[in-house]
Amino acid sequence: MRITQNMMSNIFMNNLRRQTEAMLQRQEQIASQKRINRPSDDPSGMGRVLAGRSSLSAISQYADNIKQGKTRLEFSEETLKLVDDLVQQARRVAEEKSGDSVTAAERSFAAEQVKEIYDQVLQLANSKFGERYLFSGDQTNTAPFVRDDDYNATYQGDDGSFKIPIADHVVVDIDADGRNYFQAEADGGVNIFDELRDLINGLENTDLEAGSTQIRATVDPLQNAHVQIMNKRSEAGPKLYRLQATEEHWTNVKTTVQNAIGREEDVDVAQAVIELKNLETAYESTLAAASRIIQPSLVNFLK
């Protein structure tokens, strides 16, 4: 083949361009620590990275939801524990003050105490988690219970529940219907407010004997109220466990997905550096060869 000076310089320039391009690519990879710096670097890899990112984003949202759910469950657990204490306190009052020897003055003092308990239970039943009432179903802006002057409590909420999405199409339901906690007579349970009202009425009854009967009639229901609250509290246990387990699951999945994304888009720095080093060597030898071959010409050797 006939070789001309232009061919040589063309070939050299082409090689130099290719080599500098390859070096630039490695340099970019090392600087960004990423193998995929734009979709065209690896289109299918980019697709998998994006799918991974969507999952990560959903996972961290689920993890946040679970945290909120746990906080809410713990908060309602605390609230119910206090209610339970108060109900037991009222039961003890009923037991102690039902005797015939208890004086009217003692009963009236106890009545004040139970009124206090009543209002505290009412206050706890109207607890808010953030801006929202815990026990008013979906009517989260409405206080679930109000009482009139005769200590008759009415429920203003509905049967809605608090829902926590913890995975795709998986929702954990937390009962937010206040009646299931405090006014469960329709389901064969105890209406705590009514029992407390009856206790107050009994304690305030001027007919001490009739009062004693009234007071005694509240002891068993108040004991049942304790069981009712305990049952609702124990419902939270498995739910907490479920949230906990799901949270751990997400933590594991998150690591897996992160690793998968890393494998897809992270550069093997050691390899990139070695490749860069090789390219550098090739580049330098091309330059050295160019300087030796391009320069000489017959012109230099003719007198």
Binding site: I3, G47, Q68
Partner: protein, 465 residues
């Protein structure tokens, strides 16, 4: 017939011819770096021989013409490959810009906007009456709509830039066509006198190559040395005696169409028939690739509008209203994809509850909207919204990758062919130096011969004198 003056005649012809050869060599050296130049060589021939006492004998040398060294079949191949190179380079150039529009590698883009949108609905489901959560839903819906709309607009911008490039491409085509017609004329008139128009031919080859880079052409040389050039399945641009100028026109979509004047000079649209050269590449990027991405964005916008609106309208806002759309449905497609302005001015309209009685604490509708994230709503029920976005980004990546690979492959091909052309037609300085020495030596020897003839004449004269 052998006489002393014959030696002088021979010497003179040698001097003149070697000098001419040195001129040709000098011209080769001068044009060593001229694009498209083919090395030339002087064809030498002995003078017509005459009968002498000693027999048939020639007196001196004669040059019969300057010939250009080239491979006549290479030109067409170079032009074809150059058209392919132009096409892929043009595509790569424009698609690189499209890729920037869909650059998701830093984590901000459509994918992120989608995720933020879904997460906002989940957050709302945890606190359906919360004003922070509601404004997040509004903001992320707007962010998603903005992202889709902006990407669409940026794609349109690139299409408009392609239109501008097409206009100037057509201008270049017309200029080159005029040059080819002019060179045709010169070559025909030069060669009708029997002289080969080497430099004009080099220029014409170069112009043809430039033309092929812009638009794919078919060309052949007819018997009088003129080339006939045609585009778009045999529509002639240059014929003996006539040239046609391409025209541009804006079509109903606001894009540039390319027209060719037919025999009766009425313009015919040839846009879809141009497949090569830069113009072919630009057209394909504008009408196939970018239009395809826009279709995908349209489908995404229409999908979100249809699906999310259907779920959203079934739910109830904080104020108990129902039937509200989340996305404005007075238009279709991605170009004008917006959040319902009513929602933006009144966040209470965001429908988180599934029943009017469930307001404000019910989140069933927010959860239903969120569930659309995993629903197979796109591509005839085979993909989710997220997958549709990822597929779009990947397909842009594939197209850029293909264009880059093809254009670098074409560039290699061109280098190979250019080198082959260079190997046949290129000037080798070493070769020219050797020729120079050769012709110089011949010239010196011829001069020596004349001086010797002079000596002989002097000797003769002195005898006579």
């Amino acid at each position: 017939m052998t006489h002393l003056f014959g030696v002088l005649t021979t010497g003179t012809s040698a001097l003149l011819t070697q000098q001419r050869a040195i001129n040709v060599t000098g011209n080769n050296i001068a044009n060593v770096n001229t694009p498209g130049y083919s090395r030339q060589k002087l064809n030498l021939e002995t003078n017509t021989p005459v009968y002498t006492a000693a027999g048939l004998m020639s007196f001196g040398v004669n040059s019969t013409g300057i010939e250009r060294v080239y491979d006549r079949f290479l030109g067409v191949q170079l032009n074809n490959e150059n058209a392919a190179l132009g096409r892929w380079e043009a595509q790569q150039g424009m698609l690189d810009r499209v890729e920037v529009v869909f650059d998701e590698s830093d984590g901000y883009g459509l994918n992120q906007a989608m995720s933020d949108f879904w997460n906002a609905w989940q957050n709302l489901s945890l606190n359906p009456s919360g004003s922070t959560e509601r404004s997040m839903v509004a903001a992320t819906s707007q962010g998603l709509a903005d992202a889709i709309r902006e990407k669409y607009a940026e794609l349109e911008q690139i299409q408009e830039d392609i239109d501008t490039a097409l206009e100037s491409g057509v201008e270049t085509v017309n200029r080159l066509v005029a040059q080819i017609a002019d060179l045709n004329q010169k070559i025909a008139s030069t060669e009708s006198g029997g002289i080969s128009a080497n430099d004009y031919r080099d220029s014409r080859d170069l112009v043809l190559k430039q033309l092929a880079e812009i638009i794919d052409i078919k060309s052949f040389e007819n018997s009088d040395g003129q080339v006939v050039v045609s585009v778009a399945d045999g529509r002639p641009l240059v014929e003996t005696g006539t040239t046609r100028q391409l025209q541009t026109q804006t079509n109903a979509d606001g894009h540039t169409e390319i027209l060719w004047p037919d025999v009766s000079n009425s313009p015919v649209t040839i846009t879809s028939r141009i497949t090569g050269g830069k113009i072919g590449g630009w057209l394909q990027t504008r009408d196939t690739q970018i239009a395809g991405y826009q279709d995908q964005l349209d489908a995404l916008a229409d999908g979100l509008r249809g699906q999310v609106n259907a779920v959203h309208a079934a739910g109830y806002g904080l104020d108990g209203t129902t039937g509200t759309n989340l996305f404005d449905d007075s238009t279709s497609g991605a170009a004008d994809f917006r959040v319902n302005p009513d929602i933006l001015s009144n966040l209470d309209l965001i429908a988180a509850a599934a029943t009017s009685g469930g307001v404000p604490g019910n989140a069933d509708n927010a959860i239903a909207v969120y569930d659309l994230r995993t629903a197979m709503t796109m591509s005839a029920g085979t993909a989710t919204f997220d997958t549709a976005v990822n597929t779009l980004v990947s397909s842009v990546g594939y197209d850029v990758q293909t264009a880059t690979a093809n254009s670098s492959h074409q560039a290699e091909m061109m280098t190979y062919l250019e080198n082959y052309r260079e190997s046949v037609s290129g000037v080798s300085l070493d070769e020219e130096m050797v020729n120079l020495v050769k012709f110089e030596a011949a010239y010196n020897a011829a001069a020596k011969m004349i001086s010797m003839a002079d000596d002989m004449l002097n000797t003769l004269m002195s005898i006579v004198g």
